[in-house]
Symmetry: C2
Subunit: 405 residues, 2 copies
């Protein structure tokens, strides 16, 4: 089950990035499960990673190698997350980096490893080792779609977004792919995002742009509140278009940031729409909060409430559950009289209770939609925040209660 | 569905408390849906209430009347929560208080109102008005079981616990009833607890004892993280046994506190076992935390994780989900190497990964049980906290996705 049509756009290639895919047979024979990104020399690379205290081995290594600069390759495998694997997991991930580095004549710090799949199982290094030469051999600029499929685990569809903009008369391309929403059987899956652009951006600025964009996209989507040990999102800027993005050219910077934000939001929302058992895409928008903290607290409390989510699944305009979720979000000195809650444009709560103008028919009409906006207007300040989530369906329970096998 | 046998004990009556039940036909004709507690003069009454910013009208009034002292009656109705009802809801609740007060020749502040059921619907005052004289007429010391049934909403079984202890050669009785776990269709239900004892306890000490006991029972159970607008727990001490509990007699105080804690934990756990769609009773125990806050944060993150809960439903010893939930609980400077996680006595995580001694068979054996203990040993300090929860089943989704009708 997933929300909306499954449309992977025809992806623009990004000059300076080549992609190779291969079958290692990690979980299923014949499936493309190893993806290699090759990044041209002098490219900038930025990354954001899971905040889970239990980082998987590849996350620990990717953070370290990224900090050392000079990244040239990403090595991504699905089918095994190499998480909860202790010291052996680190050794295995280093070995994979070494294998790819040797294949291309570099040292291990040039390689960032990414793994997604089962946790707690040893990484099948021999299988990956056999696949690396295949992937390197077929490196090409035109495999973004193949990569979008190659990084899938239990995703039901590949996810990508692609865009071209003009900066100072130059065409700048941005392409991105993502995978894996929610925590997925057999153990948990991972949100991975890989975005490339041929703009030239200094590493520090690129990191700021990525961190900010992730905070408006990957860090604002939630299926079930669980975060994986492996979540990572990477942004590569090759500079090959000749267009330069820097803080001294505000107009170019703004154009670029806007485009990056759009691509990242699109691939992040694709993850939500393909969330486990999802039948609805739900936008929870909190307006005029006093602080960002209270805006996010309110939004997430609503977005994570099993009662709100089951009501969304049932297309039940059960406004009392939304009201109760807002009420327990922990906002201090909350004046209920000023709160308003809307389903799309239908006011459901005002003056501390059900809106006088509210009718069940109007609420029902919104709830029947596949895309639903819950707007919570706090009237306490000028901070707005939006998060995106799904409903909670029988299929979610079925998927996650299935025994690992 | 519910966990364990449905056993309402034969309840001891509590000298100084009489209970009346009546049918107002609020939701279903003929169902007992109004319960009146009568408290003797000079009794002490203590109460704890929901922390949801949206208190239902009866909660607002009960808090106020309790603070004024001199409480003589509780008026409890099911079928309608009188929540999200604005000013009319307050007026309706006051009118009900006035009606009962007039029936017994007192003023409204002697009455505490409690409501549970649908939110956002006007309280059917006329129906309750007609039921009040019936309830007053059949007031008797021997209706604790009838009251346990009379306060049910979608509970599948009445809940009560009863106990007698000796204090200074006197027999002291403690009886308590509770209702309603999780947030229940049609909107949300309420945790209500009513406990009575014939010990003599000054109001302030009684309040301290209740607050502390609630923190170890009602405030440590969670089905889905949602808290109702109506949750309330009341403790009455009539003094009729002649036994005096005061802070100057530590031995008597400890005996009494222990017995109150036992009764409250028993009726709180009865709520969890009857949680929506519950097939397991899950104890999440966090040991040797640095602070109470981190202990509770860890325990609730695990207890609320949909992934942990669906694994519990599936009897799947999916230790990676527990590990990931602990990892995202937000503990600062967390040394993974010192963490240990157990399922009952089976160590599943140590040294930052799956325990070397762990076998799937051993984990499976624990997961097959109806009662499961998840022990998380942080080794950061000396604070221990325990919360209780259930699994997340298909029936939970079915119950909560059913349209209100």
């Amino acid at each position: 089950m997933a929300v909306g049509p499954a449309t992977l756009p025809s992806m623009y290639s990004v000059d300076g990035i080549r992609i190779g895919v291969a079958s290692a047979g990690i979980k299923k024979p014949g499936r493309k499960d190893v993806v290699v990104f090759e990044v041209c020399e002098d490219a900038s690379v930025a990354g954001v990673f899971t905040k889970n205290a239990f980082c998987a081995a590849p996350v620990v290594i990717s953070k370290d190698h990224l900090a050392q600069g000079n990244v040239r390759y990403f090595l991504i495998n699905t089918g095994n997350a190499n998480a909860g694997t202790g010291k052996q997991g680190l050794a295995d991930a280093y070995e994979c980096c070494d294998l790819l580095a040797a294949e291309v004549g570099l040292t291990r710090t040039a390689v960032l490893p990414f793994s997604t799949g089962v946790i707690g199982e040893p990484l099948p290094v021999a299988k990956i080792a056999a696949a690396i030469p295949q992937a390197v051999e077929n490196l090409s600029a035109y495999q973004w779609e193949a990569a979008a499929s190659g990084i899938m685990t239990t995703d039901t569809r590949p996810k990508g977004a692609t865009k071209q903009i003009e900066i100072d008369g130059q065409t700048v391309t941005i392409s991105g792919i993502s995978k894996g929403a929610g925590m997925i059987m057999p153990n948990m899956a991972t949100m991975l995002g890989f975005i490339g652009t041929d703009a030239a951006v200094e590493p520090q600025l690129l990191q700021e742009i990525l961190t900010d964009a992730a905070n408006k996209s990957f860090n604002r989507i939630t299926i079930d509140g669980d975060t994986s040990t492996n979540d990572s999102c990477m942004l590569i800027a090759t500079g090959r278009s000749g267009a330069i993005v820097s803080s001294s050219d505000t107009e170019a910077l703004n154009l670029f940031v806007e485009a990056i934000n759009e691509v990242m939001l699109e691939i992040a929302l694709a993850i939500v729409k393909d969330g486990e058992g999802a039948t609805k895409l739900v936008t929870v928008s909190v307006e005029s909060a006093g602080t960002q903290e209270e805006a996010l607290k309110t939004a997430y409390t609503v977005a994570h409430s099993p009662l709100v989510k089951t009501a969304l699944f049932a297309s039940d305009p059960n406004w009392g559950r939304i009201l109760a979720a807002v009420g327990r979000a922990g906002i201090e000195n909350f004046d209920l009289e000023t709160l308003k809650i809307y389903l799309d444009d239908v006011c459901i709560v005002e003056n501390g209770g059900r809106a006088a103008s509210y009718t069940e028919d109007a609420g029902q009409a919104v709830m029947n939609q596949e895309n639903i906006l819950i707007r919570i207007v706090l009237n306490r300040g000028d901070v707005n925040e939006t998060v995106w989530t799904t409903d909670l369906s029988h299929e979610y329970v079925t998927i996650n209660a299935d025994y690992r096998s």
